[in-house]
């Protein structure tokens, strides 16, 4: 998701934002796939997020201006989808599958071990800005449950004992 991107916090509470030219070009290319520009809205937000790690207020307006949409329409979309982040997240995002196959194979123990290891619960970021912890819908890896996803890669089955080695690779 944002493994190589800086943790852009200076944009908090600011409307100041300029789309990177590459991102603007990518959004305009995306638009070509659809009958109406609004359809590129979700991908546009993901493009912004790939660069900045999250979607600041100013980006909502910039995307709206580029696609000819009202800011409320864009923010309505941005706040609906769980993988669009409207506040800063850590350099790495850990998504813990909390659906029933993982429940039956012990995700709650795994999640508790993560909380203790990171010192944060769902929706929070570690003080060093390294990890954000979030729950996610069934990852579709139920024959490898319990499963979790880090920066777009799925792991499973994962035991609490695996966590130290697994997280080590993420700076």
């Amino acid at each position: 998701m944002m493994a190589t991107t800086p943790h852009t916090t200076e944009l908090i509470g600011s409307d100041r934002f300029e789309l990177h030219p590459d991102d603007e070009a990518a959004i305009l290319r995306e638009k070509e796939h659809y009958e109406q520009p609004q359809a590129a809205c979700i991908e546009a937000l993901k493009i912004v997020q790939r660069r900045h790690g999250w979607v600041p207020d100013g980006a909502i307006m910039a995307v709206g201006r580029l696609l000819g949409l009202g800011f409320a329409a864009v923010d309505g979309v941005a706040t609906f989808y769980s993988l669009i982040f409207r506040q800063p997240v850590g350099r790495h995002v850990i998504l813990v599958c909390d659906s029933s196959s993982c429940f039956l194979t012990g995700y709650e123990t795994l999640k508790q071990a993560l909380v203790e290891k990171l010192g944060v619960d769902y929706g929070a970021t570690t003080a060093d800005g390294r990890f954000t912890l979030l729950p996610v819908c069934c990852l579709g890896a139920c024959d490898g449950a319990p499963a979790l996803m880090i920066d777009g890669e799925t792991f499973g089955p994962v035991t609490p004992e695996d966590l130290s080695d697994l997280l080590e690779g993420y700076e």
């Binding site: 359809a39 993901k46 769980s82 024959d143």
Partner: protein, 466 residues
Amino acid sequence: MSGSTSGQGNPLRYHSRIRQSGTERQPETHPLTWRLRDDGEVVWLGEYLDKDGYQSVRRALAESDPQGIITVVKDANVRGRGGAGFSAGVKWSLTLQGGDMPRGYLICNADEMEPGTFKDRLLMEQQPHLLIEGMILGARANNARQGYIFLRGEYVEAARVLNRAIDEAREAGWLGPDIDGSGFDFDIAVHTGAGRYICGEETALINALEGKRANPRAKPPFPGQSGAWGRPTVVNNVETLCNIPAVILHGADWYQNLSGNRTGDGGTKLYGVSGPVAEPGLWELPMGVTGAELLDRAGGLQQGRRLKTWLPGGTSTGFLLPEHLELPLDFDSIANVGSRLGTGLMMAVPEDRGMVSLMRNLEEFFARESCGWCTPCRDGLPWVVKLLRDLEKGQGQAGDIELLDKLAADCGPGLTFCALAPGAAMPLETALRHFRQEFEQGIGKVSGDTRGVPDRVAADAPANNR
């Protein structure tokens, strides 16, 4: 989501796989998986063509008109593999086409998020061209000019594979203008989502594709009449579309015979098992194998554990008992005992797990994933969660179980725009029916009204969505 490289080569990395070897998976018996490689690598275009790839497209574009394709699919009785089991051929026959009707869209529903379901991932990650081939046939049958694969955002690997395969197919002339010299044109784009279970509902999916919040739409009009941007639109599941090429190539009778005399439903099914079993996994088996045969494939429950109950196809299906394992896993047999085949991936629950806790986990999922559009779902499901949390802690009050009965009924079919609430109600209703005593044990340990004013249940939702 772009992947980092930190997890590459990590032994914990999850890889989708079929549990049957190549020697078991033969073209005559395993139309969905016979081309898959034992090493789990992607079957790219060259290998796919060597294995009879795109022959159904060549034949259908040369010999059949849209009606001809629809008739074969209807005769084969290909029933939708996304969970509802509606006849694909009937759905296609209801799409408006001809005359002044504009050409519309074929959407592949690849938003696989039903808890316990991991089948479409395999088909997309390792055999992308079978889906593309099925989509071309679907597009021809429905006169669609553009296809979209609506893929959940977390399926990063599938997105990479599908995009490369689409490029391969386009370069080879299987997508784009004048496909295989037939004059028919069609192309495909991959749309990746950004989370939310509700996107798998076909009208919510269309809203999401249009760049809106994924609330469902009222039906009618059905998508086949007015779907994406008001044009005729067909939405089919990945596995459904992957069934079509073999039906076109070998015919309706052949497809019907794949399931032998087990069931009236034809074909094969990608079945699976998850939960605390010896060998969880995926198998392509004739439609209508029994639950017992499937559970045997998974080696039964882990040592020392016994089966208490099971879900036949995702958490929006109803709980069944061990005695139901003798039933064929087909749409009608499972519906007859008050559940649904759903996605056909079994979830096994052992005797040592309590039903109240499991239901709490399951309803937390549905409460969180409700889009908020309809009152019974938006307000009823958090209420269910609150009651279950109380019962789990032994703090239930007299009347709570009757209230759960009522909430399950109020979330049932016909009272909401889409099937999310009925999907949450069915496991609740069946759990209360089969395991009522466990719920009753959560009542009466605390007296008086300890509850006060009900609060909204956050259900572990990330703070940025509230």
